[in-house]
Amino acid sequence: MNKARSNPLNTLAMHGALILYTLIALFPVFIILINSFKERRSIFREPLALPDSESFSTIGYETVMQQGDFFLYFQNSMIVTVASLFFILLFGSMAAYALSEYRFRGNMLMGLYLALGIMIPIRIGTVAILEMMVATGLVNSLWALILVYTAQGLPLAVFILSEFMRQVSDDLKNAGRIDGLSEYTIFFRLVLPLVRPAMATVAVFNMIPIWNDLWFPLILAPAEETKTLTLGSQVFIGQFVTDWNAVLSALSMAILPVLILYVIFSRQLIRGITSGAVK
């Protein structure tokens, strides 16, 4: 084996660099989490120390629970994210199937039209989106957010899913046709189960930006009962700026759900990115 590629010094340097960067990446998250469990004085006196029996306190979390409606915010975020993902996947896979399976006039053009949105951010149209939502009475409802995120997610979903659907064998679909299945049954019963991995990739790609978005909740649904977790924590922290316990606890509560989701889905996410789905 070649020497340069297995030199122990090299390996050590590589681990050193990676550990250093991992520490940089995790340090701020770590510092927020440990300090959220400390009482006010030790937050300032020893910010780097872990909470011990003396400095441990959950006063921040108590404030958050009393003052902010975090369960409602969490529920709103959950509804918006899950519903948007559902529509992105359903509508996206249907359109992707139409584009990849059937030959019809305008197929190419329709594909290009749907792909436009991959590069152009939907935020550019915010002024008119707000006008439309006000006119239709959807402003300050979760539907406004769901519609916007669905529209935002569709272009990439159609693009990725149609790439995968082209790989589904024609023989299978034709066998279904000979057995007298309708086009809809073939799509839902035969094709969809086969592209499930691609759908998971699309879902994971869309989940994080939807959950974390601040712009549209701020503009389309700022009412108390429709606040998402991201907007809710933003507003809460703005109001409690001087109450460090509350701020740190609110931040931790916003971090945790995402972190848990990440632990569950990280393999899917990384496989999705590295399989070249976004080439």
Binding site: R123, V127, A151, V278
Partner: protein
Amino acid sequence: MKQARIRWHILVFLAPAVFVYTAVMIFPLFNTLWLALYTRVDQERVFVGLENFRTLFFDPIWAEQFWNALGNNFWFFLVHMLVQNPIGVALAALLSHPRLRFAALYRSAIFIPTILSFVIVGFAWKLILSPIWGIAPSMLDAVGLGSLYAPWLGKEEYALTTLALVSVWQFVGIPMMLIYAALLTIPEEILEAGEVDGITGMAAFWKIKLPLILPSIGIISILTFVGNFNAFDLIYAAQGALAGPDFSTDILGTFMYRTFFGFQLQLGDPHMGSAIAGAMFAIILVGVCIYLFGIQTRMRRYQL
């Protein structure tokens, strides 16, 4: 055999996606560009052509803010290109080393900031850099650099760069992952052939791997460009809609938000807001076109 009848199922499959996409994305996009050509006079919408754009580019009050935001936005983008992408490439190069242990662990850990929301990232760094809490100064003291500390987010000359670096910290995971994926597709035979010719280590990276991953670097650059020119959340979370101190961190996204919704004594103006959105659209379009026609088509792709 020619079929004259309409194949309804194609229509049914396409309709929902095309409808939602057109109604919520494409139509508002053009409607916004259209609104930029109007203004409001006594509750009436009046067509003024390109007047709003002239105000935006040349009227002393507006122009100063607009060019300031645009300049800041370019600096924001430049910091990403010069810091985020090289670090991402370097990390990916390390991670893709064939016999590296714990690679998956490092990869997952370094990607964590990318999944957090801007609100969390903005506030967390605001607290850490704050002179009141003193984590940043005491850590700098520990390595003997205490004199370098300044309240970076509060100083006009540093605030924008600091926020850009915070954003780099958050998003370094994306170039890392995409480059990592590209590096994995390079066949071992090519690297071995290089070794036979005496090209190993760093030389192998610069002479063999880098030319092969250039297309991915191109994709990352355009993603960074589009992302940076409609950025908003981080600045808003850390500095508020006024993008202080004294507008030194104002970028197009925050400028558009302020103009559209109004702040303090200024009333919101949807038509000027649309004009700014129009300018952002033009900038992004130019960037995407340069990438598609200027860079992507000229880039040499190697058949692996």
